[in-house]
C-alpha cells in the first residue's frame, strides 16, 4: 500500500517535469541551490544546514548567503573544521528524525569524512534491516577550480558512485540543481550532491513553479542523429560548445546528461546509442574506472549490435592535477579533445 503510494508519487514527479513549463526565471546555479534549500526549509522544520562558514560568513562560495538571517543559528550552523565530526553528527541526527544538509567547503575536504559517509550513512539502513532511515544530504563543490593544484582538484564522483546505499547527483544546470536538490532533501536516503565548483556563477532558466526532478531520469540536452555524447557536471558546457561546432561540420550530436550517477539512467543512454550508433562519454573524473567506465560497459553490452565505432571516453588525464596553468589546460577535458573524439568515432579523423 505504502509502496503503491510511493510509486504514484514518483510518477507524479515525472509528470510534473514533463508537463510543459511556461513560467521561467533566470537564476545562477548557486541561487537555484539556495532557493531549493530555502523552500524546503520553510516547508519542513526538521531540515538543518551545517558546515564551515555557512552562516556568518555567508558561505565560502555564497551558496548559503542570507540563510542565517532567515533561519537563525539554530538551523544554519557554523562548524569548526571537523569534517568527520559534523558529518557524523549529521548521520546521528538523521537516524533520529532530523533531515540535515551537510555542506563541505569542497568535496576535496570531505575525504576525511569518507568513513562517516560510506561506512555509516550508506550502510545503516541495510544493517538495521530497514529499521533506520538516514535522510541526509551531503553537498558542496566538486572538481577542479583553476590552478589550485592536486589536493584541491578532485572530481569525486567515482568514490561515491561506487557505494550502494548512496544516491549521487551531479547537476550541470541551475534548473537541474534546484529540482534535484529538492528531491535530495525529501529523499529518505543519504544523497551525495556534487555541485560544479566552477558552475556557481552560471545562469540558466529555472521554472517558477515547484519542480522535483526524479533521480535516475536523464535529460536530453540536445537532440541529434549522428553521435551520442554523455556528460554531466562541469564538462557539460564544453560538450555543448563542441556539439555546436560539430553541427557546423554536419555532425549532429545528441547530448545526454544523466543528472544522477546513482541511479544512472542507462535506458535513455542505450536508447540514444541505438539511434545514433556512436557514443562518447565526457567526464572530469580520472579515466580509471568510475561512472564513465560504467556507462561504456553498459552501452557495449546492450547496444553492441548497434555500434558503428568503439565507445570513447574523454576524461581528465590520469595524474594528480598540476598547478601551472599551461599544464592544467592539458589535464581537463576540453572542446578540442571532445571534437577529436567525435571525429574518431565518426571516422572523420
Amino acid at each position: 500500500m505504502r509502496r503503491a503510494k510511493r510509486a504514484s508519487k514518483n510518477r507524479n514527479h515525472v509528470q510534473q517535469y514533463l508537463r510543459p513549463v511556461v513560467a521561467m526565471k533566470t537564476l545562477r546555479y548557486r541561487e537555484a541551490l539556495r532557493e531549493a534549500m530555502i523552500e524546503e526549509m520553510e516547508r519542513d522544520d526538521s531540515i538543518v544546514l551545517m558546515g564551515e562558514e555557512v552562516g556568518h560568513y555567508q558561505g565560502a562560495y555564497k551558496v548559503t548567503e542570507g540563510m542565517l538571517d532567515k533561519f537563525g543559528d539554530t538551523r544554519i550552523i557554523d562548524t569548526p573544521i571537523a569534517e568527520a565530526g559534523f558529518a557524523g553528527i549529521g548521520v546521528g541526527a538523521a537516524m533520529t528524525g532530523l533531515r540535515p544538509i551537510i555542506e563541505f567547503m569542497t568535496w576535496n575536504f570531505a575525504f576525511v569524512a569518507f568513513d562517516q559517509i560510506v561506512q555509516n550513512a550508506a550502510k545503516i539502513y541495510q544493517m538495521s534491516a530497514g529499521a533506520i532511515k538516514v535522510p541526509i544530504v551531503f553537498r558542496g563543490p566538486n572538481g577542479a577550480a583553476r590552478q589550485v593544484s592536486s589536493q584541491h582538484s578532485h572530481a569525486c564522483e567515482p568514490f561515491y558512485a561506487n557505494v550502494p546505499g548512496l544516491w549521487v547527483c551531479a547537476p550541470s544546470t541551475p534548473a537541474d540543481a534546484k529540482g534535484l536538490m529538492k528531491t535530495a532533501i525529501r529523499d529518505n536516503n543519504p544523497v551525495v550532491f556534487l555541485e560544479g565548483e566552477t558552475l556557481y556563477g552560471v545562469k540558466g532558466e529555472v521554472p517558477e513553479e515547484e519542480v522535483l526532478i526524479p533521480f535516475g531520469k536523464a535529460r536530453i540536452a540536445r537532440e541529434g542523429s549522428d553521435l551520442t555524447i554523455v556528460t554531466w557536471g562541469r564538462p557539460y558546457y564544453e560538450v555543448m560548445q563542441a556539439a555546436d561546432k560539430l553541427a557546423e561540420e554536419g555532425i549532429e550530436c545528441e547530448v545526454i546528461d544523466p543528472r544522477t550517477l546513482r541511479p544512472l539512467d542507462h535506458e535513455s543512454i542505450v536508447e540514444s546509442v541505438r539511434k545514433t550508433n556512436r557514443c562518447i562519454v565526457v567526464h572530469e573524473h580520472w579515466p580509471y574506472a568510475g561512472p564513465g567506465a560504467e556507462i561504456v560497459d553498459r552501452v557495449q553490452r546492450e547496444a553492441f549490435d548497434d555500434l558503428d565505432a568503439p565507445v570513447l571516453r574523454v576524461a581528465s588525464l590520469d595524474l594528480p592535477m598540476p598547478y601551472a596553468t599551461n599544464l592544467e589546460n592539458l589535464v581537463l577535458p576540453d572542446v578540442d579533445r571532445i571534437i577529436e573524439a567525435a571525429h574518431k568515432v565518426t571516422y572523420k579523423a
Binding site: 556568518h56 560568513y57 557554523d78 576525511v112 590520469d318 598547478y323 599551461n326
Partner: protein, 305 residues
C-alpha cells in the same frame, strides 16, 4: 622578516595582475614566527607547514627566486610548477611541504619525528598549523601518537585568531589551544608572537626537550594576519579598528625600531631594505623570464622510479 614581507607584497601585486593563479594565502603579520622558529632550529630539522607556507619556506632558506617562480607556475619554481602557492617543497632545506588539507600534515610531521627517533638522529620535526586545525582528526590523532611515543616533535599553533572567517571563540570549546596538551601527555607553552627573539628562545627550549627524549611540545603562539584569509577574502568579519590596533604591533616595524634603539644606523637599515627590495625584484624578473612548467615533469612525477 622583511624579505618575507616584501616577497608577499610583490606576490599580491602579481596575483592582482593575473600572473599568479589559484589560492594565495599571505603570511603578512606572522613573519616573526617563521623567522624565530628557523633561528631556533638546526638546519637538518624537518619543517612542515600548511598552505600558508611562503614565509616558513623562505625562512628555512628557500630563495625568493624559487618561491616566486613557483607562484608563476614556472619550471624553475621550488615544486617545478606542480605545487603552486599551497605546496612549496624544498628538500635541501628540509622544508617538507606546504599542505592544502587542514590538519592532515600534523600526523605526517609526527611520522618524520618517528623516523628521527627510530634512527636515533639528533633531529626534531616541527609542524605549523592554525588554531582552526586543532579541531580536526588529523591533528588529534597525530598529537596522540606523538605524545604516546614521545616523538621529537614540536607542534606550533599559529593562533591568528581567525580560521577563515570564523573567530577563535566560535571554533574552540576551550580558551587556549595549549589546554589540549594534557590530553596528549605533552609539554606546552603559550605566548604572544610579536617578538622574534622571544619566539626563537621559546621554540629552542621545546626543540631541546625533544632532542633530549622529553617528547613533543604543543606551542601556541598568538599572532594576527593582516590580510584576508586568501586573496579572494575581503575579511569583512573583522573591524577596521581591530586591524589597525593589531598593525600597531607589527613585528617587522617593531624590530626596525628596536635596531635603531640598540644603535644600528638608519642608513645601515636603509641599505638592508634596499638589498631586500632588489632581491625581490630580481625574483620577479627571474620568474617572469623562466620557462613554463614542463609537460614531462607532470608525467614523470606520478610514480617514483
Amino acid at each position: 622578516m622583511l624579505l618575507i614581507r616584501r616577497f608577499e607584497e610583490e606576490a599580491a601585486r602579481a596575483y592582482a595582475q593575473g600572473k599568479i593563479g589559484g589560492f594565495l594565502h599571505l603570511y603578512i603579520g606572522q613573519e616573526a614566527i617563521a623567522v624565530g622558529a628557523d633561528a631556533a632550529l638546526h638546519k637538518d630539522d624537518y619543517v612542515f607547514q600548511t598552505y600558508r607556507d611562503h614565509g616558513t619556506a623562505i625562512a628555512r632558506g628557500m630563495t625568493a627566486r624559487a618561491a616566486m617562480a613557483e607562484l608563476y607556475g614556472k619550471d624553475t619554481g621550488c615544486s617545478r610548477g606542480l605545487g603552486g602557492s599551497m605546496h612549496f617543497f624544498d628538500v635541501e632545506n628540509n622544508f617538507l611541504g606546504g599542505y592544502g588539507v587542514v590538519g592532515g600534515h600534523v600526523a605526517v610531521a609526527a611520522g618524520a619525528a618517528f623516523k628521527a627517533k627510530y634512527r636515533k638522529e639528533d633531529r626534531v620535526a616541527v609542524c605549523f598549523f592554525g588554531e582552526g586545525a586543532t579541531n580536526i582528526g588529523g591533528f588529534h590523532e597525530g598529537a596522540s601518537l606523538a605524545g604516546l611515543w614521545k616523538l621529537p616533535l614540536v607542534l606550533i599553533c599559529e593562533n591568528n585568531t581567525y580560521a577563515m572567517g570564523t573567530p577563535f571563540h566560535r571554533t574552540s570549546p576551550s580558551d587556549t589551544i595549549t589546554s589540549k596538551a594534557a590530553g596528549y601527555g605533552m609539554a606546552h607553552d603559550r605566548f604572544e608572537g610579536g617578538d622574534v627573539e622571544e619566539v626563537q628562545t621559546r621554540i629552542a627550549a621545546a626543540a631541546a626537550r625533544a632532542r633530549e627524549g622529553g617528547g613533543p611540545t604543543l606551542i601556541e603562539i598568538m599572532t594576527y594576519r593582516f590580510r584576508g584569509h586568501s586573496m579572494s577574502d575581503p575579511g569583512k568579519y573583522r573591524s577596521r579598528e581591530e586591524l589597525e590596533e593589531r598593525k600597531k604591533h607589527d613585528s617587522v616595524h617593531l624590530y626596525r625600531e628596536r635596531l635603531l634603539k640598540v644603535g644600528v644606523a638608519e642608513n645601515e637599515i636603509k641599505a638592508l631594505e634596499k638589498s631586500v627590495e632588489d632581491e625581490v625584484m630580481d625574483a620577479v624578473q627571474f620568474a617572469e623570464q623562466s620557462e613554463p612548467a614542463k609537460t614531462e615533469t607532470m608525467y614523470n612525477s606520478i610514480y617514483a622510479p
